[in-house]
Structures are given as structure tokens and as C-alpha cells.
């Protein structure tokens, strides 16, 4: 009987390439009226790229989008909204210093009849009407920043409803909700669904998907894999479809350089301002330790806490048996740690500075003689790094932003190696890097471990963790859910652990 329902939205053969990456390869999606359609895939499978193509945030290279049978090509989110296609982003795009109703009616404030004034009364009444329909109990005059994220999310959904949207995309809507709030959200979703709306539901959480959705589309590596009715699927089946990729020699052979000697021990690490809670583990000299987990599971926060970027509430760190404080990054560097940050562009490279300046910036102290820096030593050291890591750059004076992502990353590796660290913390070291360069980075990590350096590596790509690491910690909702041997485990086991507290 479901086959009879009308097709609301159809996306066919959507392709999108970025320099060096094919983000979408003939992806497709068919959403029918009155259904909840889950869109699933690993991080980087292309779910959000597909949605960004729908909303005109990216322009697609190929493919067609049909809304109720008519081809559409939205150029902005607002245009999509006007056609009844709305998105509730995971990172809520709201004017936090304004109140609830100002946010809902932004860009289309109701006027007082015949006067150039905004009708607060009308706005209040309209907002209350929407809220009543959705059974939301929020004062429309509350300041946005004064509300918890869960309520802000509800407001965003109410905004989508207020546009009389036919298609509503929810991107990870439950990532910050409590169980009760999820229940409420689901009631709202079912209510809008029963009115004939189509809902695209993007989430990692298997149980929720099976509970709320009618159909599931699975993507992998930018490609469409399958669309199946939710009742025919099990958690295991979804995981199999999501991760089932072939792996041919993407990784250099593991060197297994881990010794028996503990170099660092972390006990009960808890963050002050994030959900990171009670994480304990130890790291061996020469070991490559992976950290797996879903987006938002606290992987980055773990590294930032160890390195002193984020504030620690409690917990102890020991290096070679001696307690270290690492209250600031400066102190962490002095203690022999190095952190390669996740957002290379934002917090890694100094874009307009040269390759040399980018290489020596963290170890300037060792090039001082008398009062001044010695150019000669810095040039030599940079040359050494360029050669050791086969960095492809026209010269040391080239601005780093003109290099490819892989070469930029190698420069940053060089920067940290020059500080002679014992422990390297790597946050998504191969993000946005093409396949060939990835291999070289993996090689580099193996070589570092052979030299007796220890590595903690966070990655969203599970095959990468399995192919590079000796041991993997799995994070879930800020906690350590388990620890697995990289050579014994499977992606399925990691996935199960990662959803333990999620």
C-alpha cells in the first residue's frame, strides 16, 4: 500500500566533485509523502553533501532534482524554503541574541495593517499557534541563548513547520536530546508525517532509525547503496550495508613497534565544559593508539584535554610514571607532546606564511643564538623536513596555502617533529587529503612509531584506524565505551561499541 503514496522529492544521479575527491557519485534518493525516510552512511559517505546539493549550498555537477514531479534547482536555502523544503541543521543557524519568535519569523515579519511596523501581537499569536499544534511549551519571548540546545532544536523544527514545508530534513536531530525529549521529537515527527509531509532523517543511531523511519536509504563513499523498508532491516544488516567496502592495499604494512613500557597513563579525565567524562587509558612507547567514535562522541575533546587546550575538571595524566599537569599547550609541548589539530585550515596552517615559517614556528627557541633567530639553522631544518617527508613544494618561501592538503599536513607533521615530541596526538590526520597522500601519511605514522614515538590518532574513517593502529579506543557520548585490538576486531564491533551510550 505504501507504493501508492505520492513521490514528493526525487533526486537522481547526483554527482559532485571537489578537488581530489568525488564526494557524490550518481547518488539518488526518493522521498514519498507521509513517510519518514532515513538517510544513513558513515561519516563522509556523502549524506550532508547530498543535502547541500538539494538546498543549493553546493551546486551539483550532474543529476536532477524533482519536487512533486517538477524539476527544481534551488540556489539558496531561502528559495528552497519558499518551495516548502526546509532543513534543520545539526549546528543550529540561529540569531542567539534574539528571542524565539524573532527567529521564527526572521525575513518575513508580519506587519501592522497599513503601517510600516512589525506586529508583535500577530507574531506572538502565530508563534503560539504553531507551538500549540506541535505541543511545544516555550514562551515565544524567551531569548534564544537562554534555552537549552534541545529546545532551540524544537524551535527550528517549528520554524520549518511555520513555512508549511512539505519536505523537512532533520540532520542528527537527537544528538543533544535526552530520552524524553527524543520521545517528544518523535511525536512531532509522526504528527507532521501524518499530515502528508515527507521527512528526511539523517542519523547514526540505529535504534532510532528503526523506530521512527518507514524507509532507509544507505550511502557509502558518495554512492547510493540501497533503499529498503525499515521493517525489513536489522541493525546488523544496516551496518553491513554501511561499511561493506573492499580494502585493497590502502595501508602500508604495520610495524607493530609497541613496547611493553607505558609512556603515558590517563586516569579519570573529565572535562569542565564538554561532556568528556571519566576517561582512563594507557599508552605504550612506540604504540599507535586509535580513537574511534561517532561525531560528537568526545574524541577531539579527549585530545584537547590531554594537550591543555580545553579545561580539565578532574583526572590525572602521568608520563613515564611522573604526573604532568599540561594546563596549557605550552606546558604540554614542554612535556613532549604535540597536537595536530582537526581543522587544518582554521587551527593548523598559517596560510599566508611560508613553508619555512610554518615548519619552524613551534620550535623557534632552538634556533636562537644570542638575541636573534638564525636563518641558516631554520633553512637547514626546513630542508631536512622537506626531504624526510617528501614534501612537494616549489621552495621554502612558498606560501603554505598554495600547497595541496596532503603537503600542508606533511609540513605540520614536520613542525611537530622538530619539537622532538615523545607523544603525537593526531586529530583526523588524513581529513580532506587524497588517497595517494594518505598512504604517505600512514607511512610517516608507522615510521614515527618505529623511532619509539607514541601516537594517539583520532579518525572518523574506521578502515583507516584498522589499517594503521595497534589498538583502538572507542568513545561513545563522552565516555570510553571499550578498547579493542585493531588486528582482531571488526568494524561491526567498533560500531556497536560506539553506539553503546549514544
Amino acid at each position: 500500500m505504501e507504493e501508492k503514496k505520492d513521490v514528493l522529492l526525487r533526486m537522481t544521479d547526483i554527482s559532485k566533485s571537489f578537488p581530489g575527491v568525488k564526494a557524490l557519485d550518481r547518488a539518488q534518493l526518493t522521498l514519498r509523502a507521509g513517510t519518514v525516510h532515513a538517510l544513513m552512511g558513515e561519516n563522509g559517505a556523502g549524506k550532508s553533501t547530498l543535502m547541500k546539493c538539494l538546498f543549493g549550498i553546493y551546486s551539483k555537477d550532474e543529476g536532477h532534482i524533482y519536487l512533486e514531479g517538477r524539476e527544481v534547482n534551488f540556489r539558496s536555502s531561502r528559495e528552497a524554503l519558499d518551495h516548502g523544503v526546509a532543513m534543520v541543521h545539526q549546528e543550529l543557524n540561529q540569531a542567539l541574541k534574539r528571542n524565539v519568535m524573532d527567529n521564527i519569523w526572521l525575513g518575513r515579519y508580519p506587519r501592522v495593517k497599513g503601517l510600516p511596523f512589525v506586529s508583535e501581537k500577530q507574531m506572538y499569536a502565530d508563534t503560539m499557534k504553531v507551538f500549540e499544534e506541535l505541543d511545544l511549551h516555550v514562551d515565544p519571548r524567551t531569548m534564544m541563548s537562554a534555552m537549552p540546545v534541545s529546545q532551540r532544536q524544537m524551535v527550528e523544527i517549528a520554524k520549518a513547520v511555520s513555512f508549511h514545508s512539505k519536505v523537512i530534513v532533520l540532520d542528527e536531530p537527537t544528538s543533544s536530546l535526552t530520552e524524553q525529549e527524543v520521545e517528544h521529537l518523535f511525536r512531532i515527527i509522526r504528527m507532521i508525517r501524518d499530515r502528508g509531509c515527507g521527512i528526511i532523517y539523517i542519523s547514526h543511531k540505529m535504534d532510532e532509525i528503526l523506530q521512527i523511519s518507514d524507509e532507509v536509504t544507505i550511502m557509502r563513499d558518495g554512492q547510493y547503496i540501497a533503499t529498503k523498508p525499515a521493517e525489513d532491516l536489522t541493525k546488523e544488516e544496516i551496518i553491513r550495508l554501511m561499511v561493506g567496502r573492499e580494502m585493497t592495499n590502502q595501508f602500508p604494512p604495520k610495524l607493530h613497534s609497541a613496547t611493553d613500557e607505558d609512556i603515558m597513563r590517563v586516569e579519570g579525565l573529565t572535562a569542565e565544559y564538554s561532556h568528556l567524562k571519566d576517561v582512563s587509558f594507557s599508552l605504550k612507547k612506540g604504540e599507535i593508539l586509535g580513537v574511534a567514535g561517532l561525531d560528537g562522541s568526545g574524541r577531539t575533546e579527549l585530545l584537547e584535554n590531554i594537550f591543555g587546550v580545553a579545561t580539565r575538571r578532574s583526572g590525572k595524566i602521568f608520563k613515564n610514571g611522573r604526573q604532568i599537569r599540561n594546563k596549557t599547550p605550552r606546558e604540554a609541548i614542554r612535556n613532549g607532546l604535540a597536537l595536530l589539530t582537526e581543522e587544518r585550515r582554521a587551527t593548523g596552517i598559517f596560510g599566508i606564511l611560508s613553508v619555512r615559517e610554518n615548519t619552524v614556528i613551534a620550535s623557534l627557541k632552538s634556533y636562537v643564538s644570542g638575541l636573534f633567530l638564525r636563518d641558516k639553522i631554520m633553512t637547514d631544518k626546513t630542508e631536512e623536513m622537506i626531504r624526510a617527508m617528501a614534501i612537494k613544494t616549489p621552495s621554502q618561501k612558498t606560501k603554505i596555502r598554495s600547497l595541496s592538503g596532503g603537503n600542508q599536513q606533511k609540513v605540520i607533521f614536520g613542525r611537530w617533529i622538530l619539537t622532538s615530541p615523545d607523544i603525537l596526538l593526531l586529530d583526523e590526520p588524513t581529513r580532506g587529503i587524497d588517497v595517494g597522500a594518505k598512504y604517505e601519511i600512514y607511512q610517516l605514522i608507522q615510521n614515527l612509531s618505529k623511532e619509539g614515538k607514541s601516537v594517539i590518532m583520532v579518525s572518523s574513517e574506521m578502515p583507516e584506524l584498522l589499517g594503521v593502529c595497534d589498538r583502538i579506543l572507542v568513545m561513545s557520548d563522552g565516555r570510553l565505551a571499550g578498547e579493542v585490538d585493531a588486528d582482531q576486531t571488526t568494524q561491526e564491533e567498533i560500531m556497536t561499541l560506539a553506539s553503546e551510550y549514544a
Binding site: N93, L96, R98, L106, G107, R108, V118
Partner: protein
Amino acid sequence: MTTINSARKRVNIANFLLDHAMILIILLLAVYVTVRVPAFAKIPNIINLVKLSAARLPMALGVAGCIILAGTDLSGGRVAGFAGFLAAVFLQASGDAARVIAGGQPWPVALVILAVMAAGACVGVINGFCMGKFKLHPFIVTLATQLMVYGSYLTVSNSKQIAVNSFVTNPMFEVSGQPVPYYVLMAAVITGIIWVIWNKTTFGKNIFAVGSNEEAARVSGVNVLLTIVCVFIMAGALYGYTGFIEACRIGNSGPTLGLSYENDAISAVVIGGVSFVGGTGKISGVILGVFMMQLIMTAMTFLGISGGVAYIIKGAVILIACILDMRKYMTKK
């Protein structure tokens, strides 16, 4: 349990004190000065404070809009200077020997006000367009335009002093023998208009939305460029008006008219709780800020503190106001 509660209460009280620290400090200052020099709290000085505040308030309201956009505007003082000169020229009596425009009659005051506001608005168009279209920081845009405005003024005026006279400085009524001039009423009317624009119109709401989250405003269909340009137009017009009032109040226009007025205006606005973070600010805050600034300066005079020390105190007040303000917006990691 009780210890936790009392600890929390203590934190709340501390937060309340910090949130309102600026007002408390200035109230304490007022009380202190009054104890030392009782005339400080007497009618003549209060009327004087109101008059000074009324003269400076329009410019502060203008620059406040720019700051709500998470921008700023340095052109205020020079635009006011140029506008003061224009007003002086338009108002010169027909028989005046020093008349700049040969022949003709002095313009009606209302027309003069509109003309100088229009002139200021023109500068605002350039400021707003460069900020909105070319994504330039308004600091640098207005730094450049204020130079151009001042240059134009010097070129056109030959740095001449022109006497100005208008009814706006005449007493409207008296309070215990102290005259209250017309421009106080005019400032009140302008403040009312700006309050309505900020709080009751789509444009006003868009200003705050753009300042709070430009991207959210854009995806909601707000014309961001137009909003920015209009804010600077409004600001420019208000600077022009301030120039007119100041020229009348001082009695003449010259090269130093308006000098560093923009700094006073920005300081007042910041003390009044309009944050450089963008998206927040209230008219009441701006009024309070302007009044506080004048109060501090007057207090210095009453205490017989020298100009140098007064500057130090003024600077310190601005710095403390900003530190207290930033406290509210810090995200902790």
C-alpha cells in the same frame, strides 16, 4: 545542601554585581562627588548634564546601530564637523559681510537640518556599501572616509570660522531659573523615532538579526547589504544633525568642530552595554551611556581634577566597561 545553596547564591550575587558593575561604579562616583561638592547634585548642574547629553545623544544613537551590526563607525566626528560648516553657511544672514554664498537669503532651519542630514547620509551610503559589498571591516572603511570628509571640509572652507546662530539654543522653558533649550526636546523626539525604528520595524529587527548571525539572516531571506547600508545612512544623517546642533551650541563652526566626537560616542555606547560582539543593545543603554560619560567628565571638573588625569580615568572606564561586557560572551572550552 545548605552549603551548596549558599554557594550558588553567592555566585548569583557576584554575577548580578558584575553585570551591573558599570552603573554601580558610576553611581558611587556621583555620590562621592556630591558629598565632596554638594553643588554637583543641584538643579543647575543636572540641567547642564541633560543639555550636554542631549547634544551628543544623536551621534551615539547613530554609531550604536553600526556597533549592533558588529561593526563600528569612525566617521562621526568629521561628518559632524563638515555638517556644522554647511549649516553655518546656509544660516548666514543675507547682509553678513562674511557670507560664503554671495547673495541669497538664509535657509529656513528645517531645511538646513534636512540638508546636513542628507549630506551625512551620503557618507553613510559609501561606508555601508563598502562594508556590505566588499566585506571590508568598517573600521578601515570609515577611517578612510573620515579623512576624505575632513579633507573636503578644509578644501571648501579654507579653515574659516563662521559664526552660527539659531533658535534651537534658545530656552524652551525654565526649571528653577535654568533655561532648557529647544534641542533637548529635539533630541528626545529623535530618540523616540530611533526607538521605534529599532524595536517596531522589520528593518530594526533585521539590524539585530544581521548583527547576531549574519548567515542566519541571509538564509532567512533578509537583504543583508541593504540592511547594512541603511544603518550607515541613518548613522550618517544623525552625525549631520549632531554637527548642526553643536555648531549652534558652540556658536560657530571651525576646523576643530566634531574633533574626536566619534570616540566619545563609541565610548558612551559601549558603556551603555551595546556590545562590539554585535546583536545586542538598547536605546535606554545608549541614553544611559551618554549621560554617564558626561557625568564622569563633569565630576572631574567638580573635583578639580586636571585634564590629563581625567583622560586616564575616562580610558580606564571604557576598558573596564569592555572587560565586564566581554565576560558575558566568552565561550569556555
